[in-house]
Subunit: 294 residues, 2 copies
């Protein structure tokens, strides 16, 4: 569709409204947009948090997860979908299931819940992500995050089938009570730190979720992983030395393709993520450059 397309720079201009006034006659603009300046949220936030188009995509992913989970446990899978320690996408190997009970492992932020409170605050204030503000959010956010569309129903179906629902998130272990409360207040039921809620600081792995995944897979047959970023599936994708083109190749390789939508489920999140590192030539192949002739 293009008829209603007034794109791209609506997004650029959202934060620049005051600065795009004639500067000669206006007072010096503040360095960063303030709430009064941005009449609307940036387009990625409008899309994700406000559009039926995104709500439909999220609901459809949740429906696939529920259907997959309920069907998959009837097959009594031999292996978890958690890569074994040291295994990579080039030579995948998985934790064995044995007769362990079934679990489904979810990231939390922008996977189970939408962080409406701080996302609006950051955008309205025109400030960058601030770890101190985020820390306050983890502590005090209960009631101000929302379950994503269809997530309550999806979790209900998994739990009714006897699947343990676990969250593995990079929220801080120091704020466990706050995050438990946030998930509960969003209608997602009880998550308990150390049992069904795994947090950054639980082990020495820092922001890598691999160690926590191994801990979970030692106790459970993990039938699915779900998240909004590739690090929710394997830390291999987060290697700082991995060039963008190789990250793309690895994530869309035949080995990975056998997992997407079949054990590994990805939610849309255009608002924040590792893609923020991408430069012009990463996002746009140079052979596709175009400009109108004069």
């Amino acid at each position: 569709m293009k008829a209603h397309m007034i794109p791209v720079s609506a997004l650029l201009l959202a934060g620049c409204a005051a600065n795009s006034a004639p500067v000669a006659t206006a007072p010096p603009p503040p360095p960063i947009a303030t709430p009064a300046e941005a009449a609307k949220p940036p387009v990625a936030l409008q899309y994700l948090y406000g559009s039926p188009e995104a709500a439909i995509a999220v609901r459809a992913t949740n429906a696939r997860i529920a259907d997959y989970g309920v069907a998959r446990i009837k097959q009594r899978p031999k292996d978890s979908v958690v890569l074994a320690p040291g295994a990579t996408m080039d030579a995948p190997a998985f934790e064995p299931c044995g007769d362990k009970p079934f679990a489904a492992v979810f990231d939390a932020d922008e996977t189970l819940i939408w962080n409406l409170g701080p996302m609006r605050y950051f955008a309205e204030q025109g400030i960058a992500f601030d770890p101190k503000i985020w820390d306050a959010w983890e502590k005090t956010g209960a009631g101000k995050a929302a379950a994503m569309p269809g997530t309550v129903e999806m979790l209900g179906k998994l739990r009714a089938a006897g699947i343990t629902v676990i969250a593995n998130t990079n929220r801080s272990a120091a704020n466990a009570k706050g995050s438990e409360g946030t998930l509960r207040a969003a209608g997602l039921g009880d998550f308990k730190h150390g049992e069904t809620l795994f947090l950054m600081g639980d082990d020495a792995g820092g922001s890598s979720k691999d160690g926590r995944r191994a801990t979970i897979a030692a106790k459970y047959c993990v039938i699915m992983l779900a998240g909004d970023q590739l690090g929710d599936f394997s830390q291999q994708f987060n290697d700082k030395d991995l060039p963008a083109a190789q990250r793309m190749a690895l994530a869309t390789s035949p080995a990975a393709a056998t997992l997407w939508d079949k054990g590994w489920f990805l939610f849309p999140n255009p608002v924040y993520g590792p893609w923020e590192k991408l430069g012009w030539d990463d996002a746009f192949p140079s052979d596709k450059k175009w400009e109108p002739s004069q």
Copy 2:
């Protein structure tokens, strides 16, 4: 995931880099960002066009479309998935199939192809969507758009199954040759204006695709519609007087839910669309407002 989250205002700042320099000592900033100022594309463009996360989502949608199409024609459906004239989501009724041949109907922009050429140009120049530039793009873009991930394979499977592939787009009928060439150069095969390519200006409906859908459904059993915006499914969703909350309710109603992923397929596009109209309170429910305590 949040460990790498430096979000939201990366997007605001992308177009504001020069203006966020100290204004007292810098020369008056230009009203709009110029290429040298934006070191990176806005986050929505980074995500859609550059991230494996988006590529995986698009590939998965294309895989579902191919699987659905090949399976669906074996069931010899009684009805098209095109709403009959006058029918609405509240009281849906569909065009009958009879013994018409099968067709799959796609939007073009951000559904079959990614418009990498003008999207980079708009963003680098920091200019709003410009209909004159877009007109030039429709005429001269062949080779500078890319087939979306998995789209070539998906179309190949549908055509091999005997399904006619049709594009219904709001590109201009006056630029039919350019759009035919753009689709062909992207590796998507032949689309012929009036037969397998329907354009704005083909009838008196303007940007509404309903009339063109009716024309197609008169000749074909339309087993699926695919697009990135709700107008690719029914013009009802584009009613200018439809409040955002009602558009959401209509698109996620039980009647619509029976169609999503089962005849109606939606591709992610956080870059542009009707959601650009949404204000703060449309995208963020007021009961979810939050700020850090001082």
